[in-house]
């Protein structure tokens, strides 16, 4: 099948490509022609009048919880992939805190099999230790052969410095990163960030130093082992500062931030809405300001949603009892464009780097290119579309989002990957 994307702008900083008002012909899932198209080429093609929308390399979310196996009532590989496509992503990495954890080739295979025929590429992250218990190294070589792109005990930090050291040393053989949820266990367990707000709201606090301590430990260990650490969902000022300094020294550390951590502060908790409860928690304005600075100066490499589906029953609880986490795949691009691009924190090129290029670099994955004969893997962005988030329209199985009814500017209007297209709410094979 032939598809024509008409009057588009192409932007891919990885290839140094930026073109305006151009046409793209896709045939059999590949770029057939880019530029002026002849009548003959357009014949029998499905034509999309895209009028100034941007064609960019397919976006990639490197921090997603798919809940399969174990909590298929909250999300499955397929519903998570549907949410990813709807949110503008052609690839995701899924975290290993499933039940059972992704600590064996069998679980990796199960997940990859579920996703095999989907538009969205799914790359599992393996557990760093068996059962994420922090005691015994997971079979990393076997996991790598089964297809994992990194290792993490996400949900918690790798338990001890000694097992972290071994994880880094072992993972280094495969050049894969250790992805860390940075939180000191002995300071964990509260319900919100420790600040004046935790005092005013009477909620048990989690101090930001709980994150900072593990970020510091991990940076030191990355330096010592000369191996790669990736800091997941960075949220505190100090942590951003430490990553910045570490990068200057050439330590192999990278970092991601979730949209809620650059959009909201812990003022949002004043409603006691369990949909603003996540871990790491929302922090203060000083933290958000440092995150914006870190995004701008490159300290923070990428944006990842930490998409964490939870059932309504679980989230409709007392704040302290409700589980941590929010869904994020379907609001991420809108929040990034609204809060970062339109507020002039990042250029559109920066946004593409942080949402398409850098996550793949961190995970050693090929970066999609927009050129003739290349397999099509792209996202179509309408950066000026003004829209209101409606959780009823999410394709995720869960809807625990604090951004419902929020007005955003900019969204994905469609994605193409693996010979499939998702546009206007439905999938088609092209």
């Amino acid at each position: 099948m032939k598809v024509v994307l008409k009057n588009v702008n192409i932007l891919n900083p990885h290839q140094n490509v930026s073109e305006k008002n151009i046409n793209i012909l896709i045939e059999d899932g590949k770029f057939k022609n880019i530029g002026k198209l002849t009548e003959a080429e357009m014949k029998d093609a499905k034509v999309f009048e895209l009028d100034g929308k941007y064609i960019v390399p397919g976006f990639f979310d490197m921090h997603v919880h798919l809940r399969q196996p174990g909590r298929e009532d909250e999300e499955t590989v397929v519903t998570g992939c549907n949410a990813a496509a709807n949110g503008g992503f052609t690839g995701i990495a899924c975290m290993p805190n499933t039940d059972p954890a992704i600590d064996s080739a069998e679980v990796v295979t199960l997940i990859k099999k579920q996703a095999a025929n989907h538009l969205v590429d799914v790359y599992p992250v393996g557990a760093a230790t068996v059962g994420r218990k922090g005691e015994v190294l997971s079979p990393m070589a076997e996991l790598k052969d089964a297809g994992v792109v990194g290792f993490s005990d996400d949900g918690i930090a790798i338990k001890t410095a000694s097992i972290l050291k071994r994880s880094l040393e072992y993972a280094k053989m495969f050049d894969l990163p250790i992805i860390e949820h940075c939180e000191d266990e002995s300071l964990a367990g509260g319900a919100m960030n420790e600040s004046i707000n935790s005092t005013l709201l009477g909620l048990p606090p989690i101090p930001s130093v709980a994150e900072d301590l593990i970020v510091m430990r991990d940076i030191l260990m990355a330096e010592y082992t000369d191996s790669k650490v990736h800091i997941a969902h960075i949220s505190s000022k100090k942590s951003v500062e430490m990553v910045r300094e570490a990068k200057k020294k050439g330590i192999k550390v990278t970092a991601e931030v979730a949209p809620h951590h650059f959009t909201l502060t812990d003022d949002a908790v004043k409603t006691y809405d369990p949909n603003v409860k996540m871990n790491p928690p929302l922090r203060t304005k000083a933290d958000v300001d440092e995150i914006l600075k870190g995004l701008k100066d490159g300290t923070i490499d990428c944006i990842a949603s930490d998409h964490a589906p939870h059932s309504l029953e679980e989230k409709e609880m007392e704040f302290e009892y409700a589980p941590n986490g929010i869904v994020g795949l379907e609001t991420q691009i809108g929040l990034a464009l609204t809060e970062l691009y339109h507020k002039k924190v990042l250029s559109l090129e920066n946004i593409i780097e942080k949402l398409a290029i850098n996550p793949r670099k961190i995970l050693n994955l090929p970066i999609p290119e927009i050129k003739q004969e290349e397999v099509v893997n792209l996202t179509i962005l309408d950066v000026d579309a003004v829209w209101t988030v409606d959780k009823k329209k999410f394709l995720s199985k869960s809807s625990n989002s604090p951004f419902d009814k929020r007005l955003l500017t900019g969204k994905s209007v469609g994605v193409i990957n693996k010979g499939m297209m998702f546009i206007e709410g439905s999938f088609t094979i092209i």
Partner: protein, 306 residues
């Protein structure tokens, strides 16, 4: 005169006029409590549910008595022996109670924010009887009532809250209420028991109990909640009572007669020596009596709002 809100969730945003009105109304009810027949028909026909998710003796009894003396029909719902132990969610429980056509809900819960949650689930007036380590507004009100009764005013007084401020629901309600009424509020306790950012509330923080005695007109001494996690926050009860406990010797050393309040129940020999507990017992027991009057005032003012 009427209150500006139909719920009492905390003292944070309660204006001075409202506090004044509650305290003045409580004075009227306080007189009724001295009569041989201690009952008025004010809330006849109103149904009040005391929804207690956390065990409580004095607060629950105090509310219950207040309700009975206003002739309301009151029902107690305690966590044990209820559907909660069968796994029912708060939402379902509240909707069920609401379906039985009640007018007011008095709620205590170990989680902060539950009273606010209730206002979204139910149409009843909601009164917070203590939520987590957040607020306990009627305790704050009765403390203010007791101080005013004893010293004739609140404005300009210096009040120090002593003890485990970080894990207290009484502290925050006292801070808000007293500050609104023009008192100067400080806190005194081990630094592990004072929230890190408390000074942002305009509260002085000190760690020396002698200084607290010298500088203030009133000490509101909090109970060290030995049954809770409090034990992890100081080395030993012995050290606590030595450095923060109040006994006769300490008061004499500072040569000062000071009004001592305590929300009860007292840990004798920990925060107050037995001797001080007994010599202050008049005001501490008055606090209990005043508690009933203040709760009558709150119930009356909310129950007759429309």
């Amino acid at each position: 005169m009427s209150l500006s809100s139909r719920h009492l969730l905390g003292l944070k945003d309660v204006p001075k006029e409202d506090i004044q009105l509650i305290l003045d109304t409580a004075t009227t009810f306080r007189e009724i409590l001295e009569r041989p027949i201690k009952k008025v028909p004010t809330l006849q026909g109103k149904t009040i549910v005391n929804l207690f998710y956390e065990s409580s003796t004095r607060t629950r009894i105090s509310f219950e008595l207040a309700e009975k003396r206003l002739s309301a029909d009151s029902v107690n719902f305690a966590v044990s022996g209820s559907s909660v132990s069968k796994g029912e969610t708060l939402k379902d429980t509240v909707r069920n109670i609401e379906a039985m056509k009640v007018d007011m809900i008095v709620v205590r819960h170990s989680c902060a924010g539950v009273p606010l949650m209730l206002t979204k689930l139910a149409d009843s007036n909601v009164i917070n009887a203590g939520d987590g380590i957040h607020e306990h507004p009627t305790q704050g009100l009765l403390d203010m009532y007791s101080i005013r009764e004893k010293l004739g005013k609140l404005e300009g007084l210096k009040v120090c809250i002593v003890g485990d401020v970080a894990h207290s629901r009484v502290a925050l309600s006292n801070i808000y209420g007293l500050k609104t009424m023009g008192a100067k509020v400080s806190v005194c306790g081990p630094s592990t028991m004072i929230p890190k950012f408390l000074d942002e509330l305009g509260v002085d923080v000190i760690h020396n109990i002698d200084e607290a005695i010298q500088e203030n007109d009133v000490l509101n001494v909090l109970r060290i909640q030995l049954e809770r996690k409090a034990r992890e926050y100081f080395p030993s009860i012995r050290e606590y009572s030595q450095y923060f406990g109040i006994d006769r010797e300490r008061l004499e050393k500072n040569g000062k007669d000071i009004l001592i309040l305590h929300p009860g129940p007292i840990n004798r020999g920990v925060e107050l020596s037995s001797e001080i507990a007994d010599s202050s017992s008049q005001i501490i027991l008055q606090q209990v009596t005043n508690g009933v009057a203040v709760r009558m005032a709150v119930l009356y003012l909310l129950g007759t709002l429309n």
